[in-house]
Each structure stands twice: as C-alpha cells, then as structure tokens.
Symmetry: C2
Subunit: 269 residues, 2 copies
C-alpha cells in the first residue's frame, strides 16, 4: 500500500516559501498534509487554517512549543505563557499536535533543566487537554543538548509522556534525532499508542553541518524502512512528515522539490 | 588535594607538535603523563617509549584501536590484524591502556556493526591479556555514529566490558562524549573498577564544528566537576587526559598552551 496518502511536507524544508506558497505547491502536487511553523503564520492562525483547508490540505502538526528552561523564574514564567499561546494557535489552526522541543538548559544545570521541562509540561497539559491538542514531545539528537533540547532520547520522551499520563501527551519520533540510539526499537515499541508524529529525513556522510546538515531520504545512512516499520508496528498510521533542514535544498527550492520528495519518500521510507 | 599529579596531555591537543616536542614541553611544564597517538610514533614504539621515559613522563594511553566494522570479511580481518599491531605497540610503548574507538558501520547495518565490534573485541582480548594492555572501550558522542563509532553510550561500553569480563577490558569516559546522557551518572557508577581512562575538554555554545569543536575546560557547558567527582567516587584515581580537538588551539599552540591547560584544569575539573 502506498505511503503517499500519509506524506506531510514540513514547511521548513523549503524556508524560502511563504506558508501560502508551500500550501499551494503541496496542493498542486497532491501532498495531503502540511507541517506548519508558528512564525510562518503571520500571527493569524485562523486565516492560515482557512487557507490550508481551502486548498484541500490537512495540518499534521504545529512547530513548536517547549523551550521551558531559563535562568530566572520570571523568564520561565514567560516561557509557560508562550506555550499557552502555542496551544491556542494549534487549536485555531486545527493542528492535532503541537511539537514540543524542550529547550536547552539556558543557565540551569542539565538536571534542573530536565525537571523544569517536566514542570512546564505538567503546567500546560490541562490547557492542551481542553484545546484537544496533543503535546508531541520530541527528543532531539544529543548534539543539540546544549543549544536546543535537554530531552535527547526517546526513553526520556516516553518517561515524560508516562508522567503526564494523558491522551493529550505523546511523543514525536524523528529519525534524524533517534537513529543512533541502541534502544530506539525498544523505545518505539514502548511508545505504542503515544506516537503523535513521525518525521523523516536522512543523515549524510559526512554531515555538512550541525543545524543544516540533514539530507533527502536515501542520501544518508539511516535505516528508514526499519524505523518506519517499527513505528507502524505500534499501530501508528498517521502522517509522516518530511522535515529537512538543508541550505542547498532551501536555495534550489522550486516546483521540482516536491516531486523529488515524493520519489525519495516512496523509494526509501 | 591538587589534581595536577593526575594531569595527562593528550598529544592531539597540539597536533602541530611532534611527539618529542610534546613530551619535552610537558616535561618542562611538570605535566606527568602524556596520551600518545599511534601515527605520531614514527613506527617505533620502543624508541618513543625510551624518549618519553628519559624525559620523566609516563604514558596514560595509546590511541587507538578499534574500527572493527567493514563491508567484507577480508576487510574485517585486516582490521583485526591492525588491532593486534596496536596492542603490540601499546605494550612496547608501556601504555597501560589502548583506547578503543569502535568505528562506524562502514556498509554494515548498525546492528550488525555493533555485533562486529563485540566479535572483534573478543578476538583481540587474549592478546591484550597476554600483553598486559587494557582495552579501553570509549563511547563516542552520537553525532559520530555515522563516521567514527557505533558505540555511542557509556551503557553500551559497559555492556561490552561486561561481555568481555576480563581485567584487560575497561571503559574510557570522555566528558565531551557522554555529558548529554540522562544515564551518565548511573553508568559511571556501574563502571566502578572498569574505568580505564577519563578525558576532559568542554562543549562550547555554539559548537564551532563537528570534529574540531571542543573547547578548553571552562569554556563550555559541561558540568566537569560533577562528572569528575562521579568518576573519582568509583575509586578511579588514574590519569585525567586533556584531549581537545580545536583548530584555534592547534594554530596558536606555543609554550603558553600547557600553562593555560594547567590553569583551566585546576579551576574547572
């Protein structure tokens, strides 16, 4: 059975495109889902939602909430408020999932920062439940531990989801972030029923950079089919987001990009 | 009690220096240990050993063995032979520890590559036991999983050491590689009696690069004292190697470098 009905285009794969361009291009290419970023909505989630639906697309997720840790209580309070806004935006957009990137330690010890992440999630959870938005806790690759996320393994994300113990708390599995983990298959199985999103790209060798190093599926060493099958084996049948941060792709993003993604997706995922 | 009697200078911290220059500079600065790399010995480990001892230094470790995985059986055989040579060189040099960097998957699946690492270690272990050289299994940061090491967590290294179950099998804890790990403190405690080396540097923010991104102790976010105390709490009282790969340090390596290392070491480790 073709996976194309599950394909979602995460719009940061083509940062030069406006949200409207991305949606229209997806619509013209028959891509059914789009993953949206908050800063691309021009501050009006309802308008973005209407435009996306007008073009016949569905939203797979909104990026991103999280970023809980900070050096002062006041700053941590602001982070919580921003997460409340993110949940509201997700609801207005009709995004079933708000992707949670936990944030770096930001002046806390890594242990304290991890506790702050749990506290923050517990605080925003009731809001997510009311809004019908799932918090998709995404572990990031450990190379981002200092700058993006103190949550760096799927085990941590599963532990957090277990602590939240709510239908509005799940995990997001991104192959780029988890493929190296000796426990990844066990932790995917453990995430059964809690998988709120599945993201694909590839890890090229050599990796051209830390933040912009991802590659098109098939252009790297990640065993994509093995991971996708493990995720599917848990019963997950939701959208599969293609999320690639790569400057070459940004520079050359044209109408052929989506066809290239569809081909690589079919061949390698 | 000062840690200076435990300070070891890993010579790749100053790649432009020859082994003899590194040894003389350490001797002149009162640094008691040096960590040696095989390609710096000019093919004569005995001569290197005599020179090091003449200058009053001791060797903390030899880098490196490992790199077991390969696409063909013939190539894997060559890797084993190279490890036999590395053990012999360590013995001739008087290095108590051969640092093992497992190597990337090199065309195998990551699971098969990990099995190949265990097989390789089991095969070279009797040789290490005879030679009185400890195989120091070093987990590398997961960002090197594709290019340097399929062993990426201290848990994996401990599991391997347990499987080898020999006084000639231990683990090397390098803070740069393990600081992000939610289980690092438990795994350090689990390594009690098996710690064959402890390496320090720091993780700067932002990280300037993947292979040359390490910083001087204190110039990053790693909680060095916490990790060092955890290692010491296991009873480890051996050398602490400063191993920094950083182009700026390479370019500017002069007689002041070792004093700078001693100061940072005293203040931050």
């Amino acid at each position: 059975m073709s996976l194309l009905p599950r394909l979602s285009f995460n719009q940061m794969t083509a940062d030069p495109w406006s949200l409207e361009q991305a949606v229209r291009n997806c619509s013209a290419s028959g891509i059914p889902y789009i993953g949206v970023w908050r800063h691309k909505m021009g501050g009006d989630a309802e308008k973005a939602s209407a435009m996306i639906r007008r073009e016949g697309l569905r939203v797979s997720s909104l990026c991103r909430g999280g970023w809980f840790s900070a050096a002062t209580a006041e700053e941590r309070r602001k982070r919580i408020e921003d997460n409340h806004r993110a949940i509201e935006e997700a609801a207005l957009l009709g995004a079933p999932v708000l992707v949670i990137v936990s944030g770096p330690a930001n002046g806390q010890t890594i242990e304290d920062a991890r506790a702050t992440v749990l506290d923050g999630l517990l605080e925003i959870l009731p809001d997510a439940e009311k809004a019908g938005v799932t918090l998709g806790i995404e572990p990031l690759h450990p190379m981002y531990a200092a700058e993006r996320s103190v949550v760096v393994t799927l085990k941590q994300a599963n532990d957090l989801a277990d602590r939240l113990s709510s239908a509005a708390a799940g995990v997001v599995v991104d192959v780029f972030h988890v493929w190296w983990d000796p426990d990844v298959l066990q932790q995917i199985e453990r995430a059964r029923g809690k998988i709120a999103g599945f993201h694909v790209s590839d890890w090229p060798v050599p990796l051209p950079g830390i933040f912009m190093g991802r590659a098109m599926m098939g252009d790297g060493v990640i065993e994509l089919q093995k991971l996708r099958q493990a995720v599917d084996a848990t019963g997950y049948d939701g959208p599969i987001e293609v999320e690639i941060f790569n400057e070459e792709i940004w520079k050359s993003a044209d109408e052929k990009l989506l066809e290239r993604i569809q081909k690589s997706f079919l061949e390698h995922v």
